[in-house]
Subunit: 229 residues, 2 copies
DNA sequence: CAAAGACTGTCGGCTATCCGACAAATGAGG
DNA sequence: CCTCATTTGTCGGATAGCCGACAGTCTTTG
């Protein structure tokens, strides 16, 4: 993979693949790069963001709040992913919060510039379409998890997916150095904080995982994965 | 709205807006139109569909099955919407079922043709992008409903949205002539059939709605809407 | 128009999970 | 190293909603 494409790498697709150099220069011109510390908001609901964001490094969580303090984390994005109001139609602003999880490097550009860029490069637009299709698929997956699985399975599903994104695999074991708080996991899995604590300790008791406040080890990835269905 | 654009009307966006006539002719050439009766499958999981579909008339439900007979309906699509494997990346086929709810008119075209068409028309592609953004938003909405609301509110939410799509508004009352079975509503709201029956009868008892096996009347739309939060 | 099949209504028991409460453990900052 | 704030662990009570069962009602079709 070339430097250029590595830069804009997307989990499954590189949206800038096949883009010529002159265009890449243009892209970098209309883009503002910013380093953002951990646990900082990028945009808030009711504060309609006029920008589209690319995540170059780090991770960002997208969540929604409810009137009472409850929260649900819709998705965690990794390097290369895009967020912001992709459908320019609405004006009301999003109901989403975007917030960094760790130190992140974010490129932003105006919706207008983004739109122009898409109009200018059919290939880029097509890649974006495919990527959005994948994102829709991810949401579908999460929705059916919510509908079909009990809390334990949802938490295991989460651990597996999270390990996939953040972990270092070594043999069958996966180690993750930046773990989330139980509350955060609760938001992700639509469970209560106490239940998360209990379930994690059950899994620890069965020797499937080990964890501290800021790290997680999955002893047998395949085995855990199998328990999620 | 011109005949042409009415033909391809999308709920919120007309993806063929601004398309010149010669291109529209081409579109119609690579497209196969078919009339499909009610409650017929369009594609099934593990039977990877090589096509992209446009819904011209009628309604289609997209759902997922679980090993045990359980089902969740992810979305109900109306005239003008697009479905199929929009992200061409995956080869495994979808886990989705697409099935007509009523008599439908569906246009299908091969993924390849669709992709070529998008490459050929940046504007079209951009419209598609916006539309997919809206679809993502709809999924987000459904996910937070699942996380935050109890069954009663989820059912009310469903009624309101369904009435919006299918109903005829007259004053403050909405009448819907093609209502779903309680089981179907259960699948949509991730509830059990019995609970749906009970909740609907509670709402009837409070004079908010009336229903028979195949019709629904909402007496005061605004009032019901307010109860969903 | 009769018989079979599908849908609706209702009940009672059951259980997963939430929620409040509080104590213990850990970590951060002065 | 002490203090305060945050996170984790555990318990018991409350309950929403699931599930099986079964009866009643409507629909379809031969």
């Amino acid at each position: 993979m070339s430097e250029k494409s590595k830069f804009w790498y997307l989990k499954n697709i590189n949206i800038f693949d096949g883009m010529d150099d002159s265009r890449m220069k243009m892209v970098e011109k209309i883009t503002t790069m910013s380093q953002i510390g951990k646990h900082r908001p990028i945009y808030l609901p009711e504060e309609p963001s006029k920008n589209i964001y690319f995540l170059k490094e780090g991770h960002v969580k997208l969540s929604r709040l409810h009137e009472d303090g409850r929260e649900i984390i819709l998705d965690i994005l990794g390097p290369g992913e895009i967020f912001g109001e992709l459908s320019i139609v609405e004006q009301g602003g999003t109901k989403e919060i975007a917030e960094t999880l760790d130190d992140a490097l974010v490129c932003s550009m105006s919706k207008q510039d983004f739109e122009n860029m898409l109009m200018d490069s059919p290939l880029l637009n097509l890649q974006l379409t495919k990527w959005m299709g994948l994102r829709l698929r991810r949401f579908e997956e999460k929705m059916s998890d919510l509908a079909f699985k009990d809390v334990t399975k949802r938490i295991i599903s989460f651990l597996v997916r999270y390990a996939d994104d953040f972990g270092k695999m070594k043999g069958g074991t996966v180690h993750i150095s930046s773990f989330l708080s139980h509350q955060e996991i609760a938001y992700l899995t639509a469970a209560s904080r106490q239940t998360v604590t209990t379930v994690l300790n059950e899994l620890k008791g069965k020797g499937l995982i080990d964890f501290t406040r800021k790290s997680l080890t999955i002893h047998n990835f395949k085995e855990l994965q199998a328990l999620a269905r």
